[in-house]
Each structure stands twice: as structure tokens, then as C-alpha cells.
């Protein structure tokens, strides 16, 4: 570690720790959280690291407060993050909505465990994928990333901060206990110049600046507290001034923009990885830890002569719907293994629109799929 607290080199690191290091590398200087298995190590690492880089760590009284504090810190100009797991994620939904409404850049990490409720605190799950999309009330769009290794959680945490600053939206890292707690090689390189996205600042002077006046990008520049802008922001439906307006017209204008700034930019946001897709008859669509088992299954299927491919979702929200639609025109089936009883499979099914079969390979949580379970589903799909 260098004198200014920068960490570079090659490490053997677990996913939670790599996530914290990614945040530090991205310039995150505020963390508020509450202990919860299996995400606690993210907070622990942040509490250890932030004092060395001029940052603030605070352990709040609950996850509601953690999310609120993260929003507050972002409005003070800091890059801010929190981390949690299922039960805490539920509590954060309230202020996640406020984050969306106030258009507050920040990162929320969910190291998923198996639910519902307290469920299996120490064991893996992927049951919060739809909650990530729809968990707070009202119509909105969110960005969610699903890393599949400690290296990727490091890289995607940096990416999450970049996306949140660019689109002024909370970005979710939807990892899982398996990735959070596995230790692997993590290479931390110096971040290239210009790689970190800087928050767009107001070009107008105080008095002229309107907090929610957006250009064609649909993302308004952001002032922060203490700069003399004397702005107002509210969780109520508001106009460009940030003032509450209780009409269907104001609601229409605001909600459309909040949704469209993500939806219309999905080509810029959506990321996925493909393996053996070119000639595939059956495509396994997977994310997080499950995508690593899916990769083995696809290889095994290939070895036995089945034209199988892998579509690994890196962004889960916004959904890679354009790609699924294209593939649905030429493949027989999608096989969707996930550690829940069917969530992302419904998105695949929606986009496939009956042109290709969508086959769920569920796992109720507590461990991960066996490769042969997925292989069997691939075999049945081409039969």
C-alpha cells in the first residue's frame, strides 16, 4: 500500500474485500452500513481503509439509516456506498426510492443470501433480483450489476460508481454469498487517467441554476450543499426548480425522464459476456456465481456434441432485452439457472416472446447448482 492509501498489486482476496477495495479505488470516501452476514466484510474493510484515505466510515443504527446517510453524503459531494444482504436490502428500499427521486449518485451492494426473511444467513442465494428492480414503490428504472468473481466485483464496483455518477441513479451490485466469501486472485492496477467519471456540475450560476433542468441526455447537472446554490430537492413529485407540483402532468414529465434516462441509454449501460453463442442452438443465460457453473455445463454439453452457448449477464438491470430478442430468432431454447424459484427467467421469457423456449433451472438456495443439473436441462432443451 502506498503512503496515500492507494493499493496496487496482486492479492488473494475475498469478494467482499475486493468490493471495498474497488470502492476505495473508485474514490468512494463515505460508507454507512449495518452489520449483516454475508456482507459484513465489506463494512469491516471500509472501516479499516477509509481512515487512511481521508474518508468517513459510520456504522448506523439500521439499514434504513445507512441508506439515508449515504444519500446525505452524496449531496455533500462525496462518493458514497453501503452494503447489505436480504433483510437489510428490504429496509433500504424506502430510501433507495428517495435516491432515485432526488437523482442521487451512490452504490448499494447486496451480497445475497437465501430468503425469504432471515432464511439462510450464511448461505448463497439469488432471490433478490426482482426486488432490485421493483423493490421500492412507484415506477422507476435502476442499474444493477452481477459480478461473478472477486476480480469482477472489484472491477464492477468501480464501474458502478461511474454509472451512478453519469446517470445520477443509485447503482446496485447484486452479488451473492458465494462470490462475496470466495477468495481468488485479484489484480489491482492503477486506474488509468480519465477512467473515473466525474459528476456533471452546474454550468449556471446560483439563481439561474435549476436543479432538475435536463438537456437531451436527460441527466441534470448536480450542485451539492454548501456551494451557494440554495437549491431545494424533495421526494415529492417536482418540477425543474425542484419544487413540489401535485399534478398528473408534472408526474408524467418527471417519471418519464427518470425512467427514460436509463431505458433510452441501455445500449451504453448493458453489459454481457458471450461464449459459444455463434452456432448455439441452446443458450444458457446466467449471472453471478451461477454463471460460473453454467460455463462448465456449457463446456460439458459442447463436449457431448450439443451446440450450447453462454450468455452471462453482467448488468441484470436494465435487462439485456435487445440481445435476448435477437437470439430468440435463431436459437431453440434459453436455459436459465438461478438460485431462486424463477425471477430472471421471466424476463428472458418476456423477451423471447414465444420464439424460443425459456427453461428455468431453479435452486432454492443454500448452495449452488451442480453442473450436471444444468447439462441435463440443456440436453432436454435440444431434444
Amino acid at each position: 500500500m502506498s503512503e496515500d492509501g492507494k493499493l496496487t498489486g496482486t492479492f488473494f482476496m475475498n469478494g467482499d474485500t475486493a468490493c471495498a477495495e474497488g470502492a476505495i479505488a473508485a474514490g468512494c470516501r463515505f460508507f454507512a452500513g449495518y452489520p449483516i452476514t454475508p456482507a459484513t466484510e465489506v463494512a469491516e474493510r471500509m472501516s479499516e481503509r477509509l481512515p487512511h484515505v481521508g474518508g468517513v466510515y459510520i456504522q448506523m443504527e439500521d439499514e434504513i439509516a445507512s441508506m439515508a446517510a449515504v444519500l446525505g453524503a452524496s449531496w455533500a459531494g462525496k462518493k458514497a456506498m453501503t452494503s447489505t444482504s436480504g433483510p437489510g436490502f428490504s429496509l433500504m428500499m424506502e430510501n433507495l426510492g428517495l435516491g432515485v427521486m432526488l437523482e442521487t449518485p451512490c452504490v448499494l451492494v447486496n451480497i445475497q443470501r437465501a430468503g425469504p426473511s432471515t432464511g439462510l444467513p450464511t448461505l448463497s442465494g439469488q432471490g433478490d433480483m426482482m426486488q432490485a428492480r421493483w423493490g421500492s414503490h412507484g415506477s422507476y428504472e435502476i442499474i444493477a450489476l452481477a459480478p461473478s468473481s472477486p476480480q469482477e466485483i472489484f472491477d464492477l464496483t468501480i464501474e458502478a460508481f461511474n454509472l451512478s455518477e453519469k446517470y445520477r441513479v443509485p447503482v446496485l451490485i447484486m452479488s451473492d454469498e458465494s462470490v462475496g466469501h470466495m477468495s481468488e486472485k485479484v489484480v489491482v492496477n492503477e486506474i488509468p487517467r480519465g477512467h473515473l467519471v466525474k459528476r456533471r456540475r452546474p454550468a449556471k450560476k446560483p439563481g439561474e441554476y435549476l436543479p432538475y433542468e435536463a438537456d437531451s441526455s436527460l441527466v441534470p447537472p448536480m450542485a451539492v450543499a454548501g456551494e451557494g446554490y440554495r437549491f431545494h430537492v424533495t421526494g415529492l413529485t417536482h418540477d425543474e426548480k425542484g419544487y413540489p407540483v401535485m399534478t398528473a402532468e408534472a408526474q408524467d414529465k418527471l417519471v418519464r425522464r427518470l425512467v427514460d434516462k436509463i431505458r433510452l441509454n441501455r445500449k451504453d449501460i448493458v453489459r454481457y459476456e458471450e461464449i459459444g453463442i455463434e452456432d448455439a442452438e441452446v443458450v444458457v443465460c446466467a449471472y453471478g456465481i451461477t454463471s460460473r457453473i453454467a460455463r462448465m455445463a456449457v463446456q460439458q454439453a459442447r463436449d457431448s456434441g450439443i451446440k450450447a452457448g453462454l450468455l452471462r449477464l453482467i448488468t441484470v438491470w436494465p435487462f439485456a432485452e435487445d440481445r435476448i430478442r435477437e437470439l430468440a430468432d435463431r436459437v431453440k431454447a434459453f436455459v436459465v439457472p438461478e438460485i431462486n424459484y424463477g425471477q430472471i427467467v421471466f424476463e428472458v421469457e418476456r423477451c423471447a416472446a414465444g420464439k424460443a423456449k425459456s427453461i428455468l433451472v431453479p435452486h432454492m438456495g443454500g448452495s449452488v447448482h451442480l453442473p450436471q443439473t444444468i447439462v441435463k436441462a440443456i440436453e432436454e432443451a435440444v431434444r
Partner: protein, 279 residues
């Protein structure tokens, strides 16, 4: 250092978002006078208004943030304090003020209240207590006196209320006071004092709600409640907070109850950072 408009006819106007008037508060409501005291306190203490951030939660009092021309945040119900905590720790140069109601701060935000006081976060909380939930139509709250009628206690309140200054003091606040909106001068001075004092400062402000609480409890108009404040208030600076509970027909004890020096969160945090970086 201040950005007040000295030649303005009404100096308070410079601090109001006049383009948002008329406000939503009822005739005779006590929230407006408390906002005036807050603004005059900023002027009295000659604070740099550009460095003040005002945070509200939800409810009638929660609308204050929207009417005062400062960097202002109208957040979620009960969460003004943790939001303000993040804001303050994100930029310790800010003078952070939470202005919200008793339902917001003491009921749904009660856990955040005690923990903010415990940490001694350097901020000022102005908690308007109108003894009920106004915005939603006058329901019982954690400050509603025993036997009082509200829209959800038609036969009288059967729950014990909180003695708010007592909890806040016990939780570790550096400064605790209570005034009614009738005590305009004292309240203004108290807010100015709180805003210039390091640590967690809490001021409970008793305010009439003639439309709901007042009507249901046959208290007449807002002015009649002000008369009640005049008759029943007793100034007792330094009173033990455990003795200041608001009971039906008993005196309303007002004054400054706590004014102590205790290291703030930031004092302790920066010390820890020094230690961490030495090691």
C-alpha cells in the same frame, strides 16, 4: 460573512422562497412562527447562509425545508436525521439543521433520534410538537397527552406519551431546550445558540394545531392555544429533563435544560484517524 439583505423591508423575506407562497399551513398553525424564529436566529448569529443545510422529513413541519431559501432537503418520513448525518459527515463545514415534526422525529424517526444524540453529531434539531399528526388528519402520536382526543383516539388517548427532552438528554445531546411559539424571542435566541454550539442540539417547540388537535380537544383557535401557553408555561432553565413531561393541565415547563460540552462524533472520529495513521 452573511448574505442577509439589510435594506429589505422585511428581512425574513430574503430567506423565504416567496415564489412558493402561499404555504400549506392552516390559519393559526404554529409552524410558520417557528420558521420565522429560525430565520431570525440565522440573522442574529450572523451565520453564512450558503453554508447552512436544512433537512426535513415528512408532515406539516416537514414542509419547512421547501419554504426557506437555503440548500434544503425534503426527505422521507422519519429519515431526516440520518440523511443529515451523512450530509454533515460528508462536509463537516456545513451547518446542518433538521426542522421537522414530533411524529416524524420522535415516532417513525425515534431510533434515529436517540442514536444521533448518542453520537453527538454536530447538528441542530428543531422539533415542532403539535401533539398529533397534522398532515394526515390529526391522529394520535407519541407526544399526544393521555386522554386527549384525536381522530384515532375518539374516546381519549390511552397511551403514555414521551417526555421528549428527557429521552434526548438521556441519549447524550449537548444541548436540549423547549419553548412554545409564544416565546418567540427566547426561541430565536435558543436556535442561534444551538446553531453555534458544537454537538447535537435539540429544541422542542410547542406549536398550536387549531385545525385538528385544537378542534378535537375544544381548545379554540390558534390564538387561544397561545393564551394557554401564556397561562401554563413556566420558564425553568436548568430544569432536570425528567421533570418536564407535559401532563394534562399541569404547567408547561420551558427553558434550556441541557447545555454541556461533550466531544462530538467528528472530534472523536478525527482523533481515531490520527491514531490509525500513526500506527
Amino acid at each position: 460573512m452573511t448574505t442577509t439583505a439589510p435594506n429589505h423591508k422585511n428581512t425574513i423575506d430574503a430567506f423565504l422562497r416567496l415564489d412558493r407562497m402561499p404555504h400549506i399551513w392552516c390559519q393559526g398553525c404554529g409552524i410558520g412562527p417557528a420558521v420565522s424564529c429560525f430565520i431570525r436566529a440565522i440573522q442574529r448569529a450572523e451565520l453564512d447562509a450558503d453554508k447552512i443545510a436544512l433537512i426535513s422529513g415528512i408532515g406539516c413541519s416537514g414542509r419547512a425545508a421547501g419554504y426557506v431559501r437555503l440548500d434544503s432537503f425534503h426527505t422521507t418520513h422519519g429519515r431526516a436525521l440520518p440523511f443529515a448525518t451523512g450530509l454533515k459527515l460528508g462536509n463537516p463545514e456545513l451547518n446542518v439543521v433538521v426542522f421537522s415534526g414530533d411524529g416524524d422525529i420522535v415516532a417513525i424517526g425515534g431510533n434515529h433520534l436517540i442514536h444521533s444524540a448518542r453520537r453527538n453529531i454536530d447538528m441542530t434539531v428543531i422539533c415542532i410538537n403539535n401533539l398529533n399528526y397534522g398532515m394526515t388528519g390529526g391522529q394520535v402520536g407519541p407526544t399526544t397527552p393521555l386522554d386527549a382526543r384525536t381522530s384515532t383516539t375518539r374516546y381519549g388517548n390511552y397511551e403514555h406519551p414521551f417526555n421528549v427532552p428527557y429521552i434526548v438528554a438521556a441519549s447524550g445531546a449537548s444541548y436540549v431546550a423547549r419553548w412554545t411559539v409564544l416565546h418567540a424571542r427566547q426561541l430565536e435566541r435558543s436556535i442561534a445558540e444551538a446553531m453555534t454550539k458544537p454537538g447535537f442540539s435539540f429544541i422542542e417547540v410547542m406549536a398550536p394545531c387549531p385545525t385538528l388537535y385544537g378542534r378535537m380537544n375544544k381548545q379554540g383557535k390558534g390564538m387561544d392555544t397561545m393564551h394557554v401557553y401564556q397561562e401554563r408555561s413556566v420558564v425553568r432553565n436548568g430544569a432536570d429533563p425528567k421533570d418536564v413531561a407535559i401532563e394534562p393541565d399541569s404547567p408547561i415547563i420551558v427553558g434550556k435544560f441541557v447545555d454541556i460540552d461533550r466531544p462530538t462524533f467528528w472530534d472523536r472520529y478525527t482523533k481515531m484517524v490520527e491514531k490509525a495513521n500513526k500506527g
